[in-house]
């Protein structure tokens, strides 16, 4: 009864004869997001004492709560705190997750496990919400990790085996940005050699770190340049010292003062630029479209193969859905048919009755 004509698989571009106004669409979308607020979740992985908390304080210009951890933790734990930050009209729900006790144990074979489990747990929570029949995704507090800052100890030599093992386990689950912590312990020449060594070790071990995207012309250049500076050598400090006539974040030594925001002294500014001011949205998008999708696919396939129906055939979510749908439609058809039969039967009976009545007359 219904005709569907769809023209436009290869859609024509049509010229506009005046101002329509849909160029406000990006703003409409963005405003909706602004009203809802944004979520950003950072995971800091690194040995105790590498300055993870201080770096976060420095990045976000604030003193986050927490006491420095001890070195005597029995196992690796993750500590997570959420903060509400506001700048202009942007409300950011920032969650910082830090490893506690990483690298302190004598036997570090299982050190990576709590981290992987934590990341997976956030994916799982999102997947559960997505699979719900009555779901509230637009109001969901997204706890998935958008960026993982991996703190490398400033030994000046190479990566530790713990670093390689851990990053290898994490690289398919999260965007890894490797940084050299407390880099004021390394001289400039040592730093260059150190960076080269780290990069080659990552490559030869097949560790996929996050690449700043170069597909958008407006940021391709800066992102491309920054990719070459990885891993970033950072220093954190919340102490302010007067240098010249300005107050600056710095660390004072007898032999001189290291300025955090001086690009000649360290890569802090680069990290802030890349992590927050240029690629925060891309980090969120990659987490959702790549890492989460991979988790979801693996999880669903895993469930699909573990459960088998009586015929021992593996099932898929898609097939189950189709099967249930066909079943439902089949039931509907059966009911309709039954009603029709009943109707036909009644008509026949009525006809018979009438015939009888006629005869009598």
């Amino acid at each position: 009864k219904c005709f569907i004509v769809f023209q436009g698989e290869g859609c024509r571009t049509v010229p506009l004869s005046g101002h329509v106004g849909f160029d406000s669409l990006p703003d409409q979308l963005v405003n909706k997001s602004v009203n809802h607020g944004f979520c950003f979740n950072i995971l800091c992985v690194g040995e105790t004492g590498l300055g993870k908390s201080t770096l976060m304080d420095t990045l976000f210009n604030t003193k986050f709560e927490g006491d420095p951890a001890s070195h005597s933790q029995p196992g690796v734990q993750l500590k997570s705190s959420t903060y509400d930050l506001q700048e202009s009209n942007v409300n950011l729900k920032l969650t910082i997750v830090s490893t506690v006790g990483f690298g302190d144990q004598i036997n570090k074979e299982d050190s990576y496990k709590p981290i992987v489990e934590f990341i997976d747990a956030q994916f799982e929570a999102y997947l559960q919400e997505e699979l719900k029949i009555k779901r509230v995704l637009h109001n969901y507090h997204d706890t998935r990790i958008h960026a993982c800052l991996y703190f490398i100890a400033p030994t000046g030599h190479s990566l530790k085996s713990l670093d390689l093992v851990t990053m290898k386990k994490l690289d398919s689950k999260v965007n890894i940005i490797p940084i050299i912590a407390k880099s004021d312990a390394i001289s400039k020449s040592e730093l260059t050699k150190f960076k080269i060594k780290i990069t080659s070790e990552l490559v030869s071990n097949g560790v996929q770190i996050y690449q700043f995207p170069t597909d958008d012309e407006s940021v391709a250049e800066i992102n491309g340049t920054m990719n070459a500076h990885l891993p970033f050598a950072v220093i954190g400090s919340t102490e302010e010292l007067k240098i010249g006539n300005k107050m600056m974040k710095a660390r004072q030594y007898p032999w001189g003062t290291v300025q955090v925001e001086n690009e000649a002294h360290c890569d802090f500014v680069k990290l802030r630029e890349m992590l927050i001011r240029v690629n925060m949205e891309d980090l969120r998008e990659q987490t959702h479209t790549r890492h989460y999708e991979l988790y979801r696919r693996c999880k669903l396939e895993e469930m699909g193969f573990k459960d088998t129906d009586p015929d021992s055939k593996p099932f898929s979510l898609q097939e189950t859905y189709e099967a249930k749908r066909n079943e439902f439609l089949g039931e509907l058809q059966k009911k309709e048919e039954a009603m029709r039969q009943m109707f036909v039967q009644r008509v026949k009976e009525k006809e018979a009755e009438l015939k009888e009545a006629e005869k009598e007359v």
Binding site: C2, G8, V14, L16, N61, T62, S80, E87, I276
Partner: protein, 306 residues
């Protein structure tokens, strides 16, 4: 033992109840550090620009359906809304083709671009609606089409390996054209909107409003609103989607005073007071489509698009 996030707002988010319109939340500000000079700037607000760039790159899909009897100016209105020939005008095919015997669903897509924003606009026309002698259940093919698009989307969403961007053919809004009789809604209008308001955003529009005076217009609109209310028909913007008090106040005004918009469409330009305007020329004057004193086209355009 993993410490979970400190925030407990998750609980409220998981609630299945539709939330009452609430005050816009005041975000508690964490101390941003002792100094408030330029060094205090983090750069979080750049996410707005980052997000805008990304949305412009992906482009937008917009699917608009027009429903109403032949001759109410549906195609002309859509062409006027989008300032281009996105809908084939009925005057074109009426001469050669007959009015279809059943309701047809014709979806035609075009790509339009403005200010760097690319939009795939699909206009879904429903020729034959309400044109038969017996129009019983003529909304059914339309309802079926709408649900089929939801079905298509769900199928993609439920896939194990899913597309990065699922093509969206779901009907985003349905303009329902009301005949400007000046009396009341027809039974067909009520039946259609009753059924379809449950599955799609309906925006009722009074077509060819140049046949009514200002007083007739106001009275007609009031009567239409009353009838829709009495019949329990919720048109867009629906109350349940008001996000907060601000939304509710704004939307209440639109729902109770402005809608349904009384519109006039035209693709012809005339010279009025030295400016070129879209309009309709009559012996008694030129009706300017985008002049708010003449008709509410501009309100509809801003409402739907901007």
């Amino acid at each position: 033992p993993h410490a979970g996030p400190v925030d407990s707002k998750n609980e409220a988010a998981m609630s299945e109840l539709v939330p009452e319109p609430r005050q816009k939340p005041v975000v508690p500000m964490k101390p941003m550090g002792i100094n408030t000079s330029l060094l205090g700037y983090i750069g979080i607000d750049t996410i707005i620009e980052q997000m805008r760039k990304k949305t412009m790159k992906t482009g937008f899909d917009f699917n608009i359906m027009v429903v109403g009897q032949s001759g109410l100016g549906k195609s002309t209105l859509v062409n006027t809304l989008f300032k281009s020939q996105v809908s084939r005008k009925s005057s074109g095919w009426n001469r050669e083709e007959k009015i279809p015997k059943t309701v047809e669903i014709k979806a035609i897509g075009h790509v339009i671009e403005e200010g760097g924003v690319k939009m795939k606009l699909t206009v879904i026309d429903t020729p034959g609606f309400g044109d038969q002698i017996n129009n019983e259940n003529c909304w059914e093919p339309i309802e079926k089409y709408i649900n089929e698009q939801y079905e298509k989307f769900l199928k993609e969403e439920v896939n194990i390996a899913r597309k990065k961007r699922i093509p969206d053919t779901r009907v985003h809004c349905c303009l329902y054209f009301i005949s400007p009789t000046g009396h009341s809604l027809r039974p067909l209008d009520l039946e259609f909107m009753k059924h379809l308001s449950k599955v799609v955003n309906i925006i009722p529009v009074i077509a060819k409003a140049d046949t009514m005076t200002l007083e007739e217009k106001t009275e007609f609109k009031q009567r239409v609103r009353k009838e829709l209310e009495v019949n329990g028909i919720e048109f867009y913007p629906q109350k349940e989607f008001d996000e907060d008090l601000e939304d509710k106040t704004e939307n209440d005004k639109i729902r109770q005073e402005s809608m349904p918009f009384a519109v006039v469409g035209s693709d012809k330009e005339y010279q009025v007071n030295g400016k070129r305007v879209l309009g309709r020329k009559t012996p008694w004057g030129i009706i300017e489509v985008e002049n708010l004193n003449h008709c509410e086209f501009a309100l509809l355009r801003d409402f739907v698009i901007r």
